[in-house]
Symmetry: C2
Subunit: 134 residues, 2 copies
Amino acid sequence: MATLDVPASHRDLLDADTAVLATVGPDGRPQLSAVWFLTEDGVIRISLNTSRQKVKNLRANPAVGFFVHDPEAPTRYLEVRGDAAIDDDPDYAFADKLGQKYSADLRSYDGDHQHRVVVTIEPVRVNAIDMLAG
Amino acid sequence: MATLDVPASHRDLLDADTAVLATVGPDGRPQLSAVWFLTEDGVIRISLNTSRQKVKNLRANPAVGFFVHDPEAPTRYLEVRGDAAIDDDPDYAFADKLGQKYSADLRSYDGDHQHRVVVTIEPVRVNAIDMLAG
């Protein structure tokens, strides 16, 4: 697994709170949502309930975008483009680890007979931005 | 132009500061960046320098995603999926209006002989979220 090549100026954002995940929907349009995430050894991972449309999108098309910004300075941000690798998380091993970051139990978000996967972002490109790129 | 159907609970986010814009790149992957935006009469518009990759992406594929969240409660957010309509802004008429929101002169961000367009988001779907959708 390639780790993220993030410049020191933006490395703190790998420990930020909420990120934005982009997938490509069946109609070809980007779909965006707020997600919790955990960076381990330079690899970004997300826990998703398999009932979510974004999991269906990623199974059909692994193209993924990830965005996290500095809440104090929203034009300082990290963008990662890549492909999603999806692994089952039947025992909530990763979900529990992620929950520790947020002091939350991810089981409480899930209905009966629901399942979780770990989405690992395999980076293709990383952009560390510190300006309004308009 | 269809205006956005945004529930009252999330309408304040239409006046928020920075948003995230998603386009689809030549490789089919989502590309995300922080953008300034202005909501006028329920329509979201963005000013972009035509030298930016995201303008090239939108000219090739109008599929667009827009995301804006509450900085105080990042899981309260508005997501808009739609198509981008692109119009020239040769006299900075829109860019100047947008600049007023941010007390900024967008000309100062542009090089000589650069041009701006107005990107108008024609909404196909609006999601007003108030939870972690993981």
